[in-house]
C-alpha cells in the first residue's frame, strides 16, 4: 500500500516538476532557432508482396525537430508491433523499427526542399523486409492560424536496399506525408499529428524473370513535443 502511495506521489512530483520547468522555459519563437522533442503514439498498416501479407499495428515513436535559420531537421524513431490482419494469410507478427531523418531547407513561399534517409528493420528478420533508402522531395507548409501549422510533403526514395534482395526503379519508391502541429502553453508545447505513406515498387528476380514484390506502409503518429 505504501509502495503504491509512493508511486503516485512520485508521479505527482514529476507532474509538478514538469509544470514548473515548462512554465519557466523561455519561448524562443522570435529567435532564429528552435528545438523540440517529444513522444508519439504510432499506428500503421503494412502490406508486402500481395494482399495476403497484410499487417496492422501500433507502437511508440519519438520525434525531434531542430530549426535554424532556413534550415530544419526532423528525426523520427518509431517502433511498431505489426500483427497479421484478419483479411490476410500471414500468421506471425513482427516488430518494425524505423529511423527517418529529413534535412529541410526553406526555398520560398510555403515550399521547402527535403533531403534525408530512412531505414526500417523487421524483427524477426524474415517476417518482413528491412529497407533503407535516401529520400528527396519537397514540403509545403501553411499557417492555418496562430500556432496552427499544417504541412504536406512528398518525394522519391532512391537507392532502396532490401534485406531480401530485389530492386526498385528510380521512380519506383515514393513517400507522402501530412502533418499538423498545434502550439499550446504559449508555444512551449506542440501537439503533433503526422501521417506518412511509403510505397516501394520492388521487383525480385529468382531466375524466372522479374516478379513484383511491392512494399507499402501507412503510418500515423499522434503525440506532443516540448519546445526549447
Amino acid at each position: 500500500m505504501s509502495e503504491k502511495r509512493w508511486t503516485v506521489g512520485r508521479l505527482d512530483g514529476w507532474t509538478v516538476a514538469l509544470t514548473l520547468v515548462l512554465s519557466n522555459i523561455p519561448t524562443f519563437q522570435l529567435s532564429a532557432q528552435h528545438f523540440s522533442v517529444g513522444p508519439q503514439i504510432a499506428f500503421g498498416d503494412y502490406r508486402e508482396v500481395s494482399s495476403d501479407l497484410h499487417y496492422r499495428g501500433s507502437g511508440i515513436a519519438g520525434s525531434a525537430t531542430v530549426q535554424w535559420k532556413k534550415f530544419s531537421a526532423d528525426v523520427v524513431l518509431s517502433k511498431l508491433k505489426y500483427k497479421p490482419s484478419k483479411d490476410g494469410t500471414a500468421t506471425k507478427e513482427f516488430d518494425a523499427s524505423e529511423v527517418d531523418v529529413r534535412l529541410r531547407y526553406y526555398i520560398t513561399g510555403p515550399v521547402s526542399g527535403e533531403l534525408g534517409f530512412m531505414n526500417r528493420t523487421a524483427d524477426p528478420e524474415f517476417e518482413a523486409q528491412s529497407v533503407g533508402a535516401v529520400t528527396a522531395g519537397a514540403q509545403m507548409a501553411y499557417l492555418l492560424g496562430p500556432g496552427v501549422r499544417m504541412a504536406l510533403s512528398g518525394g522519391l526514395m532512391f537507392g532502396s536496399k532490401y534485406s531480401g534482395g530485389g530492386s526498385t526503379s528510380a521512380l519506383g519508391a515514393l513517400h507522402l506525408g501530412l502533418g499538423l502541429t498545434v502550439e499550446a502553453l504559449r508555444g512551449r508545447v506542440r501537439v503533433t499529428g503526422d501521417y506518412g505513406f511509403q510505397r516501394f515498387s520492388r521487383t525480385t528476380n529468382d531466375g524466372s524473370g522479374d516478379t513484383a514484390a511491392p512494399i507499402q506502409q501507412s503510418l500515423g503518429r499522434i503525440g506532443f513535443a516540448l519546445v526549447f
Binding site: 502490406r47 492555418l144 501521417y195 507499402q216
Partner: protein, 343 residues
Amino acid sequence: MRVRLLLVLALAFAPALGAAQTVQNATLRRAQQALNNLDFRQALSAGQAALRERLTGYERARAYELLGFTYSGMDSILRAVDAFKQVILLEPERDLDPTRTSPKALSAFQVALTQVLVIRQLHVDSVSFVGGQGVVAVRYTVTQPARVVTRVLGPQTSLRIDSTVASGQVNIRWPARLASGDPVAAGDYNIVVEATVGQNNFSTSQAIRVTHGAVDTLPHLTSLPGYTYLPETEVPPKSWKPMGLALVYTGIALAGTSAFSSGDLGKTSLREGSMIGGGVILAGFIMTLRKPAPQAARGNVLYNQLLREQISRRNTEIAQENTRRRQQVALSVVPLPRAGGGR
C-alpha cells in the same frame, strides 16, 4: 487769394507755438499775434525785437520761423531762406507740414535745407537677433554732400562702422560685432554721425541700449506635423482559406495515397491518413471560425520606420542646432529717447 494764403500760414504756425514747450517771451507772443492778424509789418518788427532779447533755444527757433513765414508772406524769399536756415540749425529735425504750409514758405524751407549742413532723422530700428546672424539698421539724411562718418561709442568701445561721401538718405547695416567677430558687450552706446564739408561739420547721435539674452533652443520632435503613426498590425478579414487549404492538403494526401498504392496489395488503407487528415480539417475549420490573428501590415511598418527615421534625423539636427545655439547670444538693440539735437 493773398488772405487765404496767409490764413494757411497762420494755421501752420499756430501748432508750432502751441507745442509742448510754450513761448514765454511777451515780444514774441506779440509778434505771433500780429502774424495771426496778418499785420506783417508789426510781426516783422516784433519778431526782430524778440531776437534781441534773451530767448530760450525753442523761442529763438520759433522767432526765426515766424520771420521766415513773415518774409514768405512779404515775398522776400532770400530773407525767408536765411530765417529758415537759422531754424534748421537750431532744430535740425524741424519739418513743415506740406498740407498746411504755403508753397512759398515750403520752397524757402527746402532751399534753406540745401544751404546748411545738418544730419536729420537719425533713426535706429529696434531689433533682436542672434549674434552674427542679423544687423542693426541705421538711417539718416544728410542735407549736403559731405563726408559722413558713423561711429558707435560705448564705455569701452569705439567702433567706426561706416564712412562715406553721401547726400540725402543713407542706410547703414551694422552687424553689432567687434573687429574680432564677437558680439558687442551689453550696455548703452551712442551712435554718432559726423558730417564734414570743408570747415563745416555737423554731428548728431542716437543712444541705444544693447542687451544680451540666451538664444531659444528648439524642442525635440515626437511627431511630424501632419504625419501620424499607422497601426503596424492589421486583422485580415475572416476567410475560408484555412478550411479550404486544409481540405486541399488532406485531399492531396489521401488521393495520393490511393493513387500510388499498389493494386497487388489489395484495398488501400486510408485509416491513418483519414485520422490525421480529419485533424487537419478540424483545425482548418476552427481557424476559419476564429478571429484571424493580426498580421503585420508591411506598408504601415515601412511607413512608420520612415517616419521614425525622419523624426530621429530631425532630432539629431535639432540637437546639433541647440548645441550651436547654446554657444550663441541673442542681441537686442533698442534706441533710447534722444537727449538733444545735433551741433
